[in-house]
Amino acid sequence: MSAQAETPFPPGALEREAETADTRRRWLLSLPAIAIIVCAAAGPLLVMVIYSFLTPGDYGNVKWEFSLEGWMNTIVQRDIFDDTLIWADAHLSIFWRSFSLSLITTILTLIIGVPTAWFVATQPPGRREFWLFLVTVPFWTNLLVRTIAIQELIRSEGVINLVLLKIGIIDEPLQMMFTDFAIGFGMTYVYLPLMVLPVYAAVDKLDFRLVEAAHDLYASRWTAFRRVILPLIKPGIIAGSILVFVPCLGAYVTPRVLGGGKNLMFGNLIELQFGAGRNWPLGAALSLMLMAAVMVALIFYVRITSREKADG
C-alpha cells in the first residue's frame, strides 16, 4: 500500500534514507508473491539443478554419482551406431520447432487479440467486464474436450470444410487435421485470453483525447494508431506477448494433440526424459537451459525498458 509517489525530498542524507526505506517497503510488498514462488516453484527447482549433475538411475530417477553427461548430452551425443561424438541435432531441430511455433502463435494472438481487446475496452464502462468474462468463459471447459471439439471443426467433413464447400471457395475438402495449420489454429485459440486480458487492461486506460488530438493535427488513422495508440498500450502488448510466447516454448499437450504428435516439441523431449526415456539428468539440464535462455532475454528486456524510461 506504499507504492505512492516519491515526493521531492531535499538532497543528501535524508534522500538516501528515504530511498532505503522505500526499497525496504517495496521488498516487503513483494514478499508474499516471492515466498509462494520460492516455496512451490523456484525453490524445489534447486532439486533439478542438483539432479542435472547426477547419473541417470537404471529405471528413472537418479543415482547419486556426479556426472556432467546430462549437460554435455544437451549439445553433443555419442552416435548410437559408431560411437563418434556428434552434435545433438535432434535437440536443436526440436528446439527450433518449438521456437517458431511460439513466434507464430504470438503473432497470431497479437493480430486477433489486440482488436478483440480494443473492442472489449471500448464498450460502455458497465459492460466491459462482462465482455471480458465472455472471452474467458470457453476456458472454463476442459482442455482435452475443447481440443477434441476444435478437431471436430477442422476435420475433412467438419463444419469449416462444409461451409467452404457450400459457398464454393473450395471444390474438395481441405486436409487440416494434424497439419501445421491445425497446431497454429489451436494454439492461437488456447493462448488467446493470455493476450486479450493484459492488452485490455492497457487499452481500458487509454486517454482518447490524445487520439482526438492526433486526428486534429491531421494524423491519419493509421499514423494515429502507430504513433499514439500503440506506444500507450505497449505495456499491455508486451505483457501479453510474454504470457503467450514463454509458456508456448515449453507447451506440449496442445501441439501434441492437435498436431497428431508426429513431431516432438521441446516440452515433449523433456517429458520423454522424465518418462520412458529414464534420463532425468538430461531432462533437468535441457529444461534449465531453456529457463536460462528465457530469463536472460527477459532481464535484458527489463534493463532496456527501464533505461528507456530513465531517458524519457
Binding site: E129, P138, R146, A149, V159, D207, L232
Partner: protein
Amino acid sequence: MAETTTPTPTETAAPALTAPRREPRGYSVRSLPGFAVIAIFTFFALYAPILILVTYSFNAGTSLAIWEGFSLRWYYQAAANEAVQDAAIRSLYLAFCAATIATVAATMAALATTRTRRFPGKTMIYALINQPLMIPEIVTAVALLIVFAAIKVWTGHTSMIYLIAAHTAFCVPFAYLPIRARLETMDNTLETAAQDLYASRWLTFRRVTLPLMWPGIVAGLMLAFVISLDDVVITEFVKSAGQETIPTYMLGQLRRVVTPEVNAISTVILMAGVILVALFFRLTSRRR
C-alpha cells in the same frame, strides 16, 4: 475515471495540452477500421468449438464426435458418478483458492515493482515472479513431487494444501503481468494529489489507486482462474490419493475412451459460471 491523468511521457503526449477542437469527423476515434470485424469473428471462433462441445454433451451415443440422437444420459451418468462430481468441485475450489491468493500477492508485487526508480533487487523480483512461466510444467511437476513427497512423509499430512500452494505459485505470473501492464499506463499524479489533500496512504490506495488499477486486477484474476482450472501436469504429480481434478480425470481417460460425460460436466460448470457472473454484473450495475 482516469481522464484527467496525463499518460506516460512520450513524444506524443504534448498535443494533449492543446485545447481540443471539435471538428465533425466522419468516424469515432474509438473505432478502428476492421477491429470490430476481427473482434466479432474472434468471439464467433471462440464459441464454435464450445457449441460443438455442448451439443455432444446431449449425445445418445458414447462418442464425442459421432452423433446418435438426443439424450440426457451423460447428465444422468455424471449425476450418478460421485467421483466426477467430486473432481469438478475440487477443480473449482482449487482454482478459486489459487487464483484469489495469487491475485492478491501479484497485486502487491505489481504495486511494488512499477512506477518506481530502479531499486536494488527490482530485476531479481521481476525474474523470480516470472520464473514459473519459463520452465515446462513437467519439470516443476517432478521437482514438486520430490520436495512435497518428502514433506508428506515427514509430516504425515496430505491435504489439499500442497495442490493449492503449487497452483498459486504458477498462477502468480499470470495475474502479475496484466496488473503490471495496467499500472504502467498509470502515473502517480492522482495519488500525489490525494496525499497533498492529506489523505492517508491507506485511504489513497483504497479510493484512488485501487479503483484505477481494478480492470487490471479483474483481468489478472480471470486469467489465473482459467489457468488453474486447466492445469493437468503439475496436478497429476502433486495430487495424493483421492485428489482427482477434472483435467487429471480426463488425462486418465485419454488412452482408453473419452465419453461425453466430461462434456456434460463442462457444460454444467460453464452454465453455473455464466449464471453466477451474469447475476453479479446485474447486481453491481443496478447499484451504479
